[in-house]
């Protein structure tokens, strides 16, 4: 917690992902927009009841397996409008728009104000909104998270930033006991519309304590929702949706993804908190992933396509609850599931997802669900060891080949 993480650490992201070009990797947005689209209307990417419609529309297009990356159905990128930005700027844009929209939205965290956030997500906001709305807290995660919860109970909508998600371990008491539970123990009297966000995941040799995968620790807490963003598009959309939600939401960002670049729409949009994102439709196997591993999967997908496989890649986005509809439809189509995650093997998101798939879609499976998670080790410092801690594209290719025998 004493270590100061500068925005520069994020610069490692660009090089980390240089093996595949982020610019080419256009994240297909899950849109199910009707044909006519007014630029003034706030667009919700992926509504619940329309989900089935959009899926059937997309599959009738019969994408050829030779395309490693799915072409987007229709987005602003193809129509020419929109603006390009980096993921951390997308988060900032989403946050700023929500703060403009509702004066009750405020930010609290370490170095979010004058410093602009250690990953620059809150850059410029303190100048615009003042020191009270963008509150620089002392280093006391438990207390300021609790303060955010108390503020939420009494009418504000705080966005609490953990400088690193690992630091939120110190706030676990407040997150588990108060954030998740108080709506219930108060008999529904108090709502806690907080957003708890921050970077996590394995970075570039940041050491064990700054490279934690905490999704699994929080997933059992009743009463909270967890989402993980992976592209500038869904980062902004999920940020806005999380702020507008009446439930407490934990938004997981990834240290290495902050410098991803993408063109996103000019018009306002939000992403649905409970929905998964179809990254690449396919026929042979369903690969479920989230956050940084999405990119490892897509890289492996290139190799797989060259080898003649047609993987369907879904970014589950919503870690709690799971979007069993999107996932189920995919399983029913491909009959094989591979989960690729950065979370710990034991009790991780993948473990829960495996259980959920087995419970709900057992009849549709031709092979056992395979789950590739990171090793159950504290992330080592040495570069080679760190590389072996997380799942690499080569392992994904091997796993697919094994499953598709």
């Amino acid at each position: 917690m004493a270590a100061r993480i500068h925005g520069g650490a994020g610069a490692g992201a660009a090089t980390a992902l240089s093996t595949f070009n982020p610019k080419k990797l256009v994240a297909p947005s899950r849109t199910n927009l009707p044909a006519a689209r007014s630029s003034k209307r706030c667009i919700v990417a992926g509504g619940g009841s329309d989900a089935s419609k959009s899926l059937s529309v997309r599959h009738s297009q019969k994408l050829i397996a030779s395309a490693a990356v799915a072409t987007k159905a229709e987005t602003s990128a193809t129509t020419g409008t929109g603006h390009e930005l980096l993921l951390f700027e997308a988060l900032q844009e989403g946050l700023e728009e929500e703060m403009d929209r509702d004066p009750h939205v405020c930010v609290m965290g370490e170095d979010v104000g004058h410093y602009g956030g250690s990953y620059k997500v809150t850059k410029g906001l303190a100048d615009k909104f003042g020191d009270l709305r963008v509150l620089d807290t002392p280093i006391c995660e438990n207390a300021f998270t609790g303060m955010g919860i108390g503020a939420a109970m009494t009418g504000l909508r705080p966005v609490i930033e953990g400088m690193n998600m690992g630091f939120l371990l110190l706030a676990f008491n407040q997150i588990s006991n108060n954030c998740g539970m108080l709506h219930y123990t108060s008999g529904g009297q108090f709502t806690i519309p907080v957003v708890i966000r921050g970077p996590g995941g394995v970075g570039r040799q940041l050491g064990a304590e700054h490279s934690q995968r905490l999704e699994s620790y929080f997933q059992s807490i009743p009463g909270i929702q967890m989402v993980a963003c992976s592209t500038p598009y869904n980062a902004k959309g999920l940020m806005k949706a999380a702020i507008r939600s009446e439930n407490p939401v934990i938004l997981f960002e990834h240290v290495l993804l902050y410098n991803l670049k993408e063109k996103i729409p000019d018009e306002e949009y939000i992403c649905n908190l409970e929905e998964a994102e179809m990254v690449r439709p396919g026929e042979h196997i369903t690969i479920l992933t989230y956050s940084r591993m999405r990119y490892h999967v897509m890289q492996a997908a290139k190799t797989l396509v060259n080898k003649g496989y047609d993987p369907e890649v879904i970014d589950i986005r919503s870690l709690k609850p799971f979007d069993l509809y999107t996932i189920g439809n995919s399983v029913k189509k491909t009959h094989r599931v591979l989960i690729v995650e950065e979370c710990m093997r034991t009790g991780g998101i993948g473990a829960s997802l495996t259980a959920a798939i087995n419970e709900n879609f057992h009849d549709y499976l031709d092979a056992p669900v395979m789950c590739l998670s990171s090793q159950d080790v504290p992330t080592p410092y040495a570069g080679t060891l760190e590389e072996w801690t997380v799942v690499q594209p080569a392992q994904i290719v091997t796993a697919v080949e094994q499953l598709c025998q």
């Binding site: 006991n177 108060s186 806690i192 409970e274």
Partner: protein, 429 residues
């Protein structure tokens, strides 16, 4: 110590206010532990102690407040009117009767789990909370029944909650340690000690935010109650720091009853004078006799006024005592009988009664009427709770999420909460 109340001036000299330990020093099995052998220095200053002269806030010592009143009332200094006195008396009687009834109901098997009773500490709750408005917030601990009652939550709602019935203030979902009321701004009710203090700090932050960002007229203050054991917990210090730093309208009230279950305050705390910890963070620290509701009320008035004026937080240490064990499961064998007797002699209700009668503010008959009225109220609360229904199965999942879409999308494409079987708890999740 002599009875706190006297005919003329309830407040004795500053020496007594500063006396931090009861004259009978209670000793658990003899040890060489430093806390016992240390002698306490009684500060010579009569004023509220400030750490930094430069940051001296215009807080008036309790003595000054009293002196002012003395000037205006030339004959006899009475700190309360008759109406106020009766309100205070009724509130304390309500707290005492309610808690006594809880004990009865517990042993009859009507309520379960951990029940922590407030007998003996009524002066603190009444002294502070009766000065608050409905929009002010109160945050408490697991010993929260009386805080809820003082804040205005009906005895029926609290009793029903204890019985686990639907009509309880939290629909039966909270229980003894989680009393919440949005209407009365009772923000809980927390089972882990120290857990509520950050929440209270947040409520105070909202008041400041409303004033300074939303430009609303907001004078709401928050009062956080917690015990001596909590004062060794990190959350306490973190919040003292933030409250003073941001000048939040909050009052930290320490109900120092000297015992954290079986752990004596002296055995667990390097410096047992908790009020001193306020100035270390830049806020006034006050020590007050928590068995004397009038003294508590005077200090509370000053602290609340400070907070409303935007001058920031205050730490108030109330020396008090719980007549019963830590909870109804505690046999309370560790505390010395002599200590208990000493504090029983300082029962705040008896003291207030004596004060009211001796100063001709109320007659014995009027007070008896109040006691009878409260007895009936509490009995009616029990009848109401008894007659109320238990929660049904469908209530199980109802309040998990404010927005039930949080349960997610099921395999059929619909949100789970749209499935009627889901809320009934019969659907496969």
């Amino acid at each position: 110590m002599a009875t706190s109340f006297s005919a003329t001036l309830p407040l004795h000299g500053s020496q007594e206010n500063r006396l931090l330990l009861p004259p009978i020093r209670l000793a658990p099995p003899p040890s060489s532990f430093l806390g016992f052998t240390r002698s306490l220095t009684i500060p010579s200053s009569r004023r509220l102690y400030h750490a930094h002269a430069a940051r001296r806030s215009p807080v008036v010592g309790v003595q000054e407040v009293v002196k002012e009143k003395k000037v205006t009332n030339s004959l006899v200094c009475i700190l309360i009117t008759k109406e106020e006195g009766l309100v205070l008396y009724e509130d304390m009687i309500l707290g005492r009767s309610f808690e006594d009834m809880c004990a009865q109901m517990y042993y009859r098997g009507k309520m379960f789990g951990f029940v922590h009773l407030y007998n003996g500490q009524e002066a603190v709750s009444t002294g502070f909370i009766k000065l608050l408005t409905q929009s002010d917030s109160v945050v408490s601990t697991y010993r929260d029944h009386v805080h809820a009652l003082s804040k205005g939550v009906s005895a029926r709602a609290v009793m029903s909650e204890l019985f686990g019935k639907v009509t309880g203030c939290c629909r039966g979902q909270g229980g003894s340690m989680h009393m919440f009321s949005k209407e009365h701004n009772m923000l809980g009710g927390f089972a882990f000690i120290g857990e509520g203090i950050p929440v209270a700090t947040g409520a105070a932050f909202t008041s400041k935010y409303k004033r300074e960002v939303l430009k609303q007229d907001c004078e709401d203050v928050t009062v956080a109650f917690f015990g001596d054991g909590t004062c060794n917990n990190g959350q306490f210090y973190e919040c003292l720091n933030m409250a003073a730093l941001y000048k939040l309208p909050i009052i930290f009230v320490v109900e120092n009853n000297l015992w954290a279950i079986g752990m004596s305050h002296l055995r667990s705390t390097s410096d047992p004078e908790i009020w001193k910890k306020g100035p270390a963070f830049g806020m006034p620290g006050v020590h007050v006799d928590g068995m004397d509701v009038l003294k508590v009320r005077e200090v509370a008035k000053e602290a609340v006024t400070r907070a409303r004026r935007g001058e920031g937080p205050t730490l108030v240490e109330c020396e008090t005592y719980r007549f019963r064990g830590h909870s109804l499961a505690d046999p309370d064998e560790l505390r010395d009988a002599a200590e208990k007797a000493k504090y029983a002699a300082r029962d705040p209700i008896t003291a207030l009664k004596k004060y009211l009668v001796e100063n001709k503010l109320a007659s014995e008959g009027e007070l008896k009427t109040i006691e009878k009225k409260i007895d009936e109220l509490v009995e009616e609360a029990v009848e109401f709770a008894d007659a109320s229904p238990q929660p049904g199965r469908s209530q199980l999942l109802e309040n998990v999420f404010a927005d039930p879409k949080g349960f997610g999308i099921g395999p059929d494409g619909r949100y789970r909460c749209e499935d009627p079987k889901f809320t009934q708890g019969t659907a496969q999740v």
